[in-house]
Symmetry: D2
Subunit: 336 residues, 4 copies
């Protein structure tokens, strides 16, 4: 479905070429100061059209907060934030029904929704929906604010010199992916639960909701599989649980240890590549060569860091609100 | 919490050195034939004590089905399966409270549960709880049965010659991790949802509930981040959505395409290594060298494949039961 | 929270005197024809200003469907429906913070949200939010369409002659409540689950989300408590489960029997009565007499029937989509 | 399904004539003292065989706590409590498949589970499952302990002289129902949420999970529908929200006001009446007279008060654990 979280709960809606995309945030504590300006920096970071290698489609991406705010503070009621789609060119997408684009959800959406899906620009499957994730992330980050969540690109197309990686793709008239690392500093120990609500479980759940993500690893991740235990184990150095190394990525037994949370994700190359490709034509029943039209990112990974920060904040906040550790003290309303 | 799933829902309980570990499975359709024998092969695959490199602790691991079965078939009511813990040596674990073991949940459990946790053998955090996952997986696999779910070890300690990897760890008196690949064949197209209930989201959520898993990648995963789009895109070859390559791991836009689901996980080395280690002693308030007692696996990854198959089956079955794609036809009970 | 349902899931948002009220409907099957006209009749039934005894506040209540529809059919993506608030007089409500109105949520909202709630016209607590329930109900009813859901007022202020009951209240310059009965015809047998997802549990859960509802009874309800078992038991008369009487209200063991579902609810009198009342003044710290301003219904129960139909449809549809009764048959995508 | 709650979560399992009935409680805070003795009084109150008018079937009802407790305190892990069924006479129930008993779930279970249900003694539908509710309620009450939850029978078979009501049923060789009132004292203000998680919604949801309950009303309930608003409104008398009357039953806008929570439920007469009844015989395809065998309560309502207290405690505790009202203060683990 289109919702995530149990206490801090988000709900996304809208289509790439419909009237709007939106996000509804339920469970936000009351009394948090919130203004339009809080959203602008992160929304700009996500936006296409600002960096070389991203889509020339430019949406104003100006949020309208339509509920849940009163006197510039959250009220405890659902916060609905809307973005108008103004810059759509739907005519670009009519061919999708006949030839599903490789790497895109055209085929699976057709199967899943029996042909009734809005196929224009990916419809509800579009990466455009992530604008709502970023908006919800702004709120989650603000609540978590002593914590610092930062995501950075480590590699583009296999190159740590990012400019070089991008250059190679542009020269080849192809698209390219990347690897992004997210670090959370000043994390309280004790967030998360063993087993099904481990920090890794909940973060990975929402991270794979970001289109184009195909892998995630915490701490040493896949490298850990090659280490000896004596090397991998992080030794506790003080009573607060600080460790001399951080191979665990700040999470042990599914629960934060108070050390930095560190994880990396793999973003596949943008499916829409300028190169001619082959796919099955459902009308002619033959595999045919075709080219993709529309405006696309050479490297979608360039826009992912701020989205990754947002979903990480959403996941951590929900886990914090869920967590209980000691017996409650009930304050009753006794008469007399 | 300790439950997973929305329609096919599992709930795990118990402690490593308590009376029992158990699993309760709710939402299993009625009428499925189910006998004790169905469980034995997978339980044996998970069991320690059978393979070199796994713990010498041997539990009989004989399941008792205490509810939900009548005349050898499921009834639609919750199925509760219990395993008695007989072979416990709790005295081994008294030191944990003073010196939390590196890589173990001792420290985070202490923080989370305020010192009230059962710390014997990891208590509720123990890998012993995965016996319940395997039992639930047997049922899920049976329901999904035309689908075939197989997990295999690709590497042990960085070696594809598994015997060699294990040998190296035993010689070094150290522990070691591994990489495991899971493949699902004969998958219907259309399982999963875009965004938060993507197949990747739901599988990774439950996969990270397996202790010691620190990474997951679908299809080409981290390698995809280095590819050009023209290489990564899988071309559709026929009307059923079969593709010439499978870089996507059988999942596009979060939904199965009908091609094989393929993913890999990274398992860190067993935290309990025979080597002396350093950790913080909460009594002396100093970092001290100490050695871990108890019986442990040199390579816990050796026991993970059957657990990985189980959780994959549980995740896929729940997604299938959730999915709806076309308008309902309601059959009413009209009097006339 | 502000969401209900597990498969057919609704989310309500907005405030009485804010910009909008809205509803987001997730989990609606794809391919359902849906036009603005489908909503108009039920919205008009709920609307104030049309019947004597209801509020003179008139909102256009024209829905805008902003997502989830393509080519006049549902797509399977979330359907977001918005209503603009145009006719607000917020100045009426400034006194609420000082003297909480008896019977209103002013006091409990203040406690719950620490004074940050939007108090204008009840804010997010307002009955205005039920316009979203009615819109979601229109969709649910359409999907369930061979079923017929009808709610009717049985009593106003204790009078079965409804005009008389209303007259009495208007003469007394007071407000008044009522009793409403809901009947669902042509119900399939087998909807609902024993225990926590009984039809009674799920219907009553959402029914008590309607402001002012204080009681519910199924079938013979409170009268059943005075009957002998031999009288109360409905005898099965044929193989379809039709019974000679319907004291059970069509639900046995939490599951529909195929007979009509019948239940009644009690709606308390509108809290805002024209009469002067007493309440605690938080500024003077004294109990004082005061009068309520603003535009209100003499009898809110008059507007409830269509809301009751809506929530009943939402509850039944979600239960139907949840229900599974026999082993699945999996259709796989086998190559060759 | 068979679970209830989001933070304090219970899961019930087992069958009337199977090996066990059990309850698993997840989300219980760590550090609560808990001993077998805590359960005995409430279990005895629920038990048949102690009061005239209840079933002669006597189960020992001795709970075994199989997980989640360590050193006599809760650990934060799931608490599984089991009850052995020893006193079963399954032969009594073979006829049910042919002639479904009026008022029982025999027919609806058959439809729902396609004939695979365990029909012996009602199987999983049996009131015997409520022993698990009572056990979970003991824990919830203990956590809530400054609050006082008491349920009492108001009427048996329409008589407030309970002995008289019971006498009438025994003389008539019939079964009988009753009305029970539950009061919660020393309630904090601010529990519950507007709309879908109103206190009324959540309490009624779990109350209708108790077999035989057919109605619920809060405060003045159905009588409120006959009152004028000026009479029904409870006037606030002090800054803590105490009111001069309690027509609202301590809940306004879905949220506790700090006044006593008061509600009443209607329990229908026991379906199994000693009188001969008519029902449809699926073998002969005719309506036939038949008599019910087995051991049953004349008045099941006599055993309900302690169950009602238990589910009320479970609902209130879960709502308290869910509730958040002001911005979080995050304590981070900053190194310096």
């Amino acid at each position: 479905m289109n919702s995530f979280g149990r206490i801090f709960r988000i709900n996304i809606m809208g289509e790439s070429h419909g009237d709007i995309v939106g996000v509804c945030i339920d469970g936000c504590p009351a009394g948090l100061e919130l203004a339009l300006e809080d959203f602008l920096l992160d929304l700009k970071r996500r936006q296409g059209g600002n960096i070389r290698g991203t889509t020339p489609r430019k949406e104003a991406d100006m949020p309208t907060i339509k509920s849940g705010i009163f006197n510039n503070k959250t009220t405890g009621a659902p916060i609905y934030i809307e973005f108008i789609n103004s810059n759509t060119r739907s005519a670009d997408y009519q061919a999708i029904k006949t030839i599903p684009r490789p790497g895109h959800a055209d085929f699976t959406a057709e199967i899943k929704y029996g042909g009734f899906q809005d196929f224009r620009g990916g419809g509800h499957f579009s990466g455009r929906l992530t604008v709502g994730l970023v908006a919800a992330g702004v709120i989650a980050k603000k609540i978590l604010s002593p914590m610092k969540i930062n995501a950075n690109i480590l590699e583009i197309g296999g190159e740590t010199d990012l400019e070089l990686g991008l250059q190679r793709a542009i020269e080849q008239k192809d698209s390219i992916g990347g690897i992004i690392e997210c670090t959370v500093k000043e994390v309280p120990a004790g967030i998360g639960e063993h087993f099904f609500d481990s920090v890794e479980s909940v973060i990975s759940h929402i991270v794979f909701a970001i289109p184009a993500v195909k892998g995630i690893e915490f701490g040493s991740g896949f490298s850990a599989a090659k280490m000896f235990g004596s090397v991998h184990n992080d030794c506790f150095m003080d009573k607060d649980g600080h460790t001399n190394t951080n191979h665990s990525g700040g999470i042990i037994g599914g629960i934060t240890s108070g050390n930095d949370i560190v994880f990396r994700i793999a973003v596949k190359p943008t499916s829409s590549t300028p190169k001619p490709q082959k796919s099955f034509n459902f009308e002619t029943a033959q595999v045919e060569e075709f080219s993709i039209k529309g405006r696309h990112d050479v490297c979608i990974a360039l826009r992912v860091p701020v989205i990754l920060e947002a979903v990480t904040a959403i996941a951590l906040l929900d886990l914090m609100l869920l967590g209980q550790k000691t017996p409650l003290v009930i304050k009753t309303n006794k008469c007399d």
